[in-house]
């Protein structure tokens, strides 16, 4: 095994059964048992088909493509919350996912309490979070709001809180799923700077984005997924022009 490889997909396919028969619940399932069982076995939706790539340590890679192309499934496989249907996924290193807005937060708890909750969920120890608490709060610029329940926060404030926790993680592989485009411009800049900082310190970053500008600025490499397959995989400067042409 090559030590410089962080993420390796080898002929990975992922398909989901279409659970339409379960939509009717237990009642529907039991009353239509033979049909339901057959349906479970047969109808499948393919999200990824025979995908292979290696991502090296320290690389910053963007996954691009239309909605439903399979980008988030890819991230789910890297985060190891999904299992591939065939092929192998190998991930070497601590993975930190950047959660969607408010994911892993509890709306009745204060910002400060949510920092602890979210930090532990994302892999930090309680001790580390207590040590870094001031720095996290400082980064978020939330001031006195930090001791208010977060249901009073605006969505921008929530994303500040969320990103501030992530900025203090110590990831080896960071997964970012389209969450950079939140918060005001000043904070967006701060996020991007932080990502650049992670990048400089050798963190492997995988991001899903639709923003061509962000990808151009942050990423070394683009993997473009179209119709559940890799359409193109190469340096940002090569893939982006083709990608832009294709969609404009």
């Amino acid at each position: 095994m090559n030590k410089s490889i962080a993420i390796q997909f080898n002929r990975v396919s992922k398909s989901y059964p279409i659970y339409s028969h379960l939509g009717a619940g237990l009642k529907g399932f039991i009353f239509n048992l033979p049909k339901a069982l057959k349906g479970l076995a047969r109808e499948r939706f393919t999200a990824l088909e025979n995908i292979s790539f290696d991502i090296n340590r320290g690389e910053t890679v963007a996954f691009m493509g239309r909605n439903g192309a399979g980008k988030s499934t890819t991230l789910g496989l890297i985060a190891q919350v999904l299992k591939s249907t065939s092929g192998t996924v190998a991930v070497h290193g601590r993975v930190s996912p950047l959660l969607e807005l408010g994911g892993g937060f509890h709306s009745d708890l204060t910002g400060r309490e949510n920092i602890l909750l979210n930090g532990v969920l994302l892999g930090l120890s309680r001790k580390t979070i207590k040590e870094k608490e001031d720095s996290i709060i400082g980064f978020s610029e939330l001031g006195n709001f930090i001791d208010q329940p977060i249901r009073m926060y605006s969505s921008g404030m929530l994303s500040r809180l969320g990103f501030s926790v992530v900025a203090h993680l110590d990831p080896e592989i960071l997964l970012v799923d389209e969450v950079l485009a939140v918060g005001d411009i000043a904070f967006q800049e701060k996020c991007k700077n932080k990502i650049t900082e992670f990048k400089k310190s050798g963190v492997t970053i995988v991001l899903v984005s639709h923003s061509i500008d962000d990808v151009r600025k942050l990423c070394d490499r683009v993997i473009w997924i179209e119709n559940h397959k890799i359409q193109m995989d190469g340096p940002t400067t090569e893939v982006l022009p083709v990608y832009e042409k294709y969609f404009v």
Partner: protein, 253 residues
């Protein structure tokens, strides 16, 4: 996944549950007592004065069984949503999901312990002895019930991901179970030829043991064994189902 990490997860998730439950409620503790006490009051009125049930010290009789029952019911009825309500987390972060089930019933245990003084007050009112058996019986039954509700809760929360109407079934099931369990009535009021069926009700031996512990300071060791058997059954089946299906949670939620 090391022990430290699991410990940290259990602590912060339990804190979350407790804080969320008591936020904005300065009298949170009293609120958590309100529900079982209200039931106790209404059962006392109805069964003592309308149905004329003749049981000595009826309020203590009710309270001694209602608090453990309340723990059981809370854990089981909340469990259906344990995983569903944490969907955004489960879809992104890889951690042992069964910790969520443990935390859910664990915080009900904390409430149960916090409510114990109420039972003790009733014991004082009815001049019951505080037998040394309480020191063995309370922790023993509490640990068994924790494992029991954890296993059952894990099973229900897993199934409810795939069949969202399982939740409804649980509600109906609990109504049956309440009246089939000797909570508002005593075992000697059950017709004699049905009494041997008591162990078939999975909660009856547990609830009856809590009651005899508080009322007489004794445990029925046969019932302890039966409850342990049920607990083992639930934990093993719960884990088997969970293990088989947990990797599908993220794609299903």
């Amino acid at each position: 996944m090391n022990i430290e990490r699991i410990k940290d997860l259990v602590i912060v998730l339990t804190q979350k549950e407790l804080k969320a439950r008591y936020k904005n409620m300065k009298l949170g503790y009293l609120w958590s007592l309100g529900n079982p006490l209200a039931y106790g009051l209404i059962y006392w009125l109805v069964f003592k004065y309308v149905m004329k049930v003749k049981i000595e010290g009826f309020p203590l009789f009710l309270v001694s069984a209602l608090f453990p029952w309340q723990w059981f019911v809370n854990s089981i009825s909340v469990s259906a949503n344990t995983f569903v309500s944490n969907a955004s987390l489960i879809k992104k972060v890889n951690f042992p999901r069964n910790i969520l089930s443990l935390v859910s019933t664990g915080q009900d245990l904390i409430h149960f312990i916090a409510a114990l003084p109420i039972t003790f007050i009733f014991m004082l009112i009815y001049h019951k002895n505080f037998s040394p058996m309480l020191f063995i019986g309370v922790p023993l039954l509490a640990i068994i019930q924790l494992g029991y509700t954890y296993g059952l809760g894990l099973m229900i929360s897993t199934i409810n991901i795939f069949f969202r109407d399982a939740e409804r079934l649980i509600g109906i099931f609990i109504t049956f179970l309440f009246y089939l369990t000797p909570i508002v009535y005593s075992t000697d009021m059950i017709p004699e030829n049905f009494r041997h069926l008591i162990p078939l009700n999975p909660v009856a031996p547990l609830i009856l043991n809590w009651r005899s512990l508080f009322l007489e300071g004794t445990l029925n060791w046969n019932y302890v064994g039966i409850t342990l058997g049920y607990a083992a059954l639930f934990i093993i089946t719960g884990h088997a189902i969970y293990r088989r299906l947990s990797w599908k949670f993220a794609e299903f939620l």
